[in-house]
């Protein structure tokens, strides 16, 4: 196993340096589909974070029991159970969000962020580290979605937090004084109108691309050599790797 790294590090890497949406470019489909409204993006983000957290814990706890050859079906079963739980909770407490997210809520099952973290991290690391990783990745996913949705909703629809009561229904009727979003463009002169293209998929790709560029910039600045890199010993391909063989040959020569 690789060198132990602090839990906080596992948690914080999901925020920017390995942000699942903007740096690993995983889970693109729900990102583009859901990020048209800020409230939907928060709902989606929280649901995915919950699934990610619990599935990471479960996969990590069972990592020594699950046979290597059928691990993917096993992961999918674990993830699907958690998605069902989350979906039923969302349906029960915030039905408006369930309606808005539609098919994308059950589709969290096949969200590649969740399967990817199970395969790449939870299947190899301790329960605590996996929980930290899942939480960090989930919050990174939520943050990226929310950021995209902010631009898209503000520029494309001219509102902020529209339909907020759908999510605030969790805290009872008329929570926060019945706050249901702000129509920003109503404060501007009449000749200004929102740009519909940002709500359309094309605009989504624009925002997505620009945010990826910015995240790359930030990530490269703070990125550094991986500390836990311990040579090729852990690599399953090391036996057949030409560069490793060459290295060994040179060592023999020396």
């Amino acid at each position: 196993m690789a060198k132990k790294t602090s839990l906080f590090k596992e948690f914080s890497k999901g925020l920017i340096i390995e942000n699942p949406v903007l740096r690993l470019v995983l889970g693109t489909c729900p990102t583009l589909a859901v990020s048209t409204s800020m409230i939907n993006s928060i709902g989606m983000g929280i649901s995915a974070t919950l699934v990610l957290l619990f599935s990471n814990i479960a996969v990590s706890a069972l990592r020594k029991v699950i046979p290597q050859k059928i691990r993917i079906p096993a992961y999918v079963v674990i993830i699907a159970s958690f998605v069902t739980i989350v979906q039923l909770i969302v349906k029960a407490f915030v039905p408006a969000i369930d309606e808005a997210l539609g098919i994308f809520l059950p589709l969290i099952v096949v969200n590649c962020i969740i399967l990817g973290r199970a395969e790449a991290f939870a299947g190899k690391n301790t329960v605590l580290a996996s929980a930290a990783d899942g939480l960090g990745m989930g919050i990174g996913f939520t943050a990226a979605l929310f950021l995209m949705a902010t631009f898209r909703e503000l520029l494309g629809n001219g509102t902020v937090f529209s339909g907020a009561q759908g999510l605030l229904a969790l805290f009872g009727e008329n929570a926060l004084g019945g706050f249901n979003g702000i129509d920003v463009f109503s404060f501007l002169p009449n000749s200004f109108e929102p740009m519909v293209i940002f709500i359309l998929p094309a605009g989504g790709f624009f925002v997505f691309g620009i945010l990826i560029a910015i995240a790359n910039r930030l990530g490269n600045k703070t990125g550094q050599e991986r500390e836990d890199f311990d040579g090729c010993a852990n690599c399953p391909l090391a036996q057949n790797c030409s560069s490793v063989q060459e290295q060994e040959r040179e060592e023999v020569k020396a």
């Binding site: 000749s191 200004f192 109108e193 740009m195 519909v196 293209i197 940002f198 359309l200 094309a202 624009f206 691309g209 620009i210 560029a213």
Partner: protein, 347 residues
Amino acid sequence: MGEKARTAALKEQNKEPMHLPTVSASPHIRSRDTTTGIMLDVIVALIPSLIASAALFGARALAVTGIAVLSCLVFEYISRKVMKRGNTLSDLSAVVTGILLAFNLPSTIPFWMVIIGSFIAIVIVKQFFGGIGHNFVNPALMGRIILMTSFPTAMTTWTGSFIRAGADAVTSATPLASLSEIFVKGDFSDAAFTVLPSNINLFFGQTGGSLGETCSVAILLGMIYLIARRVISPIIPFTYIGSVAIIMLIAGGGSINFLTAEVLSGGLLLGAVFMATDYTTSPTNPKGKFIYAIGCGIITSIIRLYGNLPEGVSFAIILMNILTPLIDYATKPKPFGYVKKEKEAVK
């Protein structure tokens, strides 16, 4: 640099002792074309259309063009500065983009939309992809398409004080919308064409439309200048317009009225001469240019005849822009003396 300065420089070089042969690194044959020079030629070619638009649509046409050019220059300067790259204002490409963008907008458009269009064209389409020579589609056209999708009403409100007998300001269906109706009804009799401006009006631009696209004669003047100066090759404009003309002739059942109206109205001429010929986004060799222009023509015609939108020039050019690298790959010229390898005989 003028001819005199060049000869002076050559004389300066020749002052060296004659017995020493001058050895220099290749290339030995150089073209005197510079980006600035080419862009300047394009600007000169656009001047007739600019004058025509000012005459047809009034001072607001000049204001829209001025704002587009100015905001393009400002965005180009700021984005190069922020990205810590060299300043490229002097190559004048931002000026050309600004003028072309303005020519694709109606004269009544709110000024802030023009600025957004410039931002999309310069910052998103051009500088984000690496600046001049690296944009994958024509920046001005992309600016137009995004404005068109975002603000359909503002982008299709055509009014202008055309110099037209009897009416100062005319708001009417564009010729293309009427032509589309004629095609759907299948009535190509002379009576059906009375809803349209006459061919003479279309030729001189006395009709509704974007700033630079209505006055055909001004665009043709620009085309002649560009071809004479060898800035553009005649293949793209002629093939593009020709293929649209042939398709329209067939679609109109041989109706000449339909053909001339289709060719003279809308952005076809402007697109074929100034947009489709952009160096960065069109194929490099003649065969590729031919394929590219025919593709533009076919897509334009299909959108005009069967599409929801009345005009398809901008989408056609953008789609073919995206295909350009593939066309270039498929039409690689054969090196001189190259013999194609014979396929190995099957056993």
